[in-house]
């Protein structure tokens, strides 16, 4: 409900104005002006952001390593069509987040906490913090792997990641934060460039669109691939992030159509770049039987350099640095939204640190803890990186169930509540993700404890 015409006595009726309101209203003024002029592309430019950031942020270090490992071990078959399918699933989930954020102007954490009780809100925040911390460690590993290609060490990776987090804080404006991260995220296209430099056989890519050949190997390895690939596409932090960022950006129900374009554009770009990593990794398929573990480490860009040339290796290494850096920013932001929303204090990039101490402290703090972990000598960083996606997949169904409940809540959403078709697809996604995550967790556990062979 727009304020225009609401009252003739705004000094009495309008709520007290904060600096956060002022900053957000400046952004909304530009949106309003573009809409009034009928400027289609400027309006699109103003309203894109959260969707692309969520999707490209999820094309993070561990995800790109997972895609490349899929390609290195199994080739292009099955995964070329599977990755877009997963991003189509991600679109369904993220569209709901955007819509709920635009209609309610509130983040996921605070809505779950207020609508369903503090127990569920804190469970959601705890899940998020755990998976985010592990994933952030993996992001620093990704940067370190990329930097190792240029003979730079862990300390540089830590400094780079933390400096980026601090740098994006400057300005006290969501818009500024979003544009900086968006500009960086577009370099996710380096993986597509790496794929082109690897000179793939176009016919092989096209022929793999029929989901064949299906990956061979043990049942457990297949489950690991499915779980880690799903975890590379849809994760709990994306839910917190896109809803929180949509609200922080000041999106309203009038912006939902553009929010859908934003989310769809993010999904398409992420799928293309993810396939780029897969294709680049597939260049290693016929070279010494590259396995998931064997090429997940610092050797991946080097292995690519030996097979496809130094340009491909360099671009892939730069891509890993970019993927890790962007994900550090978006995942830290999702942690900050969740922490501040659950405590009930200011949670916006449209504030300065002095006004939203917890929000900024959580943002920087979780990145700092993850950075410290990668400096621990002998820490099992590569195993952490590979398992981060699996754990996210296992915990995702709970977050998705609450997301669907919120999007169906007519008391909150009114006419913007989910349609029946969205619910059917959403529930199917939850069932698929839950089944894959659970199957891998249970099968691995039974094998580890020797209860099955």
């Amino acid at each position: 409900m727009a304020l225009t015409g609401v009252t003739d006595s705004p000094a009495v009726a309008l709520p007290p104005l904060t600096e956060e309101d002022t900053a957000r209203s400046l952004d909304r003024a530009r949106v309003h002006e573009a809409r009034r002029r009928g400027s289609r592309w400027p309006l699109m430019w103003l309203l894109v952001g959260p969707g692309i950031l969520a999707m490209l942020g999820e094309n993070d270090g561990p995800s790109m390593i997972a895609y490349a490992s899929d390609g290195a071990q199994y080739g292009l078959g099955f995964f070329v069509p599977f990755i877009p399918l997963l991003f189509a699933m991600a679109y369904v989930c993220q569209e709901m987040c955007m819509r709920v954020g635009a209609v309610t102007h509130r983040g996921y954490g605070e809505l779950v906490l207020q609508r369903f009780g503090s127990v569920w809100g804190w469970f959601a925040a705890a899940d998020l913090t755990l998976t985010n911390l592990i994933t952030l460690v993996a992001e620093f590993v990704s940067i370190r792997v990329g930097l190792a290609y240029f003979h730079l060490g862990s300390a540089v990776a830590v400094a780079l990641g933390l400096l980026l987090v601090v740098f994006t804080f400057s300005g006290g404006r969501y818009w500024r934060w979003e544009r900086i991260v968006l500009g960086m995220a577009l370099f996710n296209g380096l993986f597509l460039l790496a794929a082109i430099l690897a000179k793939p056989h176009v016919g092989a890519i096209v022929s793999s669109l029929d989901f064949s050949p299906f990956p061979g190997g043990s049942f457990n390895t297949l489950l690991l691939l499915l779980a880690s690939t799903i975890g590379a596409t849809v994760t709990p932090w994306m839910i917190f992030f896109q809803q929180g960022a949509s609200a922080d950006k000041g999106m309203t129900p009038r912006d939902i159509r553009h929010g859908r374009y934003d989310t769809a554009a993010g999904a398409v770009l992420a799928a293309i770049f993810g396939i780029g990593a897969l294709v680049a990794g597939a260049a290693l398929l016929t070279h010494n039987g590259a396995g998931i573990q064997g090429f997940a480490g610092a050797g991946f860009p080097n292995a690519l350099r030996r097979v496809a040339g130094s340009a491909a290796g360099t671009v892939f290494a730069l891509g890993l640095i970019e993927a890790g850096a962007v994900a550090i920013l978006t995942i830290s932001a999702s942690t900050a939204y969740a922490a501040a929303e659950c405590v009930g204090v200011a949670h916006s990039f449209n504030t300065f640190p002095r006004e939203a101490a917890l929000f900024y402290a959580a943002n920087f703090g979780i990145a700092l803890v993850a950075a410290v972990v990668i400096l621990i000598p002998g820490a099992p960083l590569l195993s952490i990186a590979l398992n981060a996606n699996v754990l996210a997949t296992v915990l995702l169904p709970v977050s998705l169930v609450f997301m669907v409940m919120l999007a169906n809540d007519k008391g909150l959403m009114g006419r913007w509540a989910n349609k029946r078709s969205t619910n059917v697809i959403g529930i199917a996604v939850i069932a698929f993700v839950g089944a894959c995550g659970a199957a891998y967790g249970i099968d691995s556990f039974l094998q580890t404890t020797h209860l099955i062979g």
């Binding site: 002022t22 509130r106 699996v390």
Partner: protein, 85 residues
């Protein structure tokens, strides 16, 4: 959350939110502050939404899902730790 740090006059100069004559008009729409919806203001979003009633069956289903997620997570973590050795 911070409240009352800025006034409408600070943002819009000498123009009140309702326009110079105190009534909504075309200029009213052009004023920056007017482009926020009422429920977008921090003062409004700071108010908690009402608690949704959860049926016993829905609560039980949510607890079952939560328990299931915790158990499978522990299995993944256990497997991860064992594989390190």
């Amino acid at each position: 959350m911070t409240t009352g740090a800025t006034t409408y006059e600070d943002v819009d100069g000498d123009r009140s939110a309702g326009g110079r004559d105190g009534r909504p008009d075309e200029h009213f729409e052009d004023e920056t502050i007017m482009h926020l919806e009422r429920d977008q203001f921090v003062a409004e979003t700071s108010r908690p939404v009402a608690r949704a009633p959860l049926s016993p069956r829905a609560s039980a289903a949510l607890w079952a899902l939560r328990l299931f997620a915790v158990v499978v997570s522990l299995m993944v973590v256990y497997t991860f730790i064992r594989q390190l050795h």
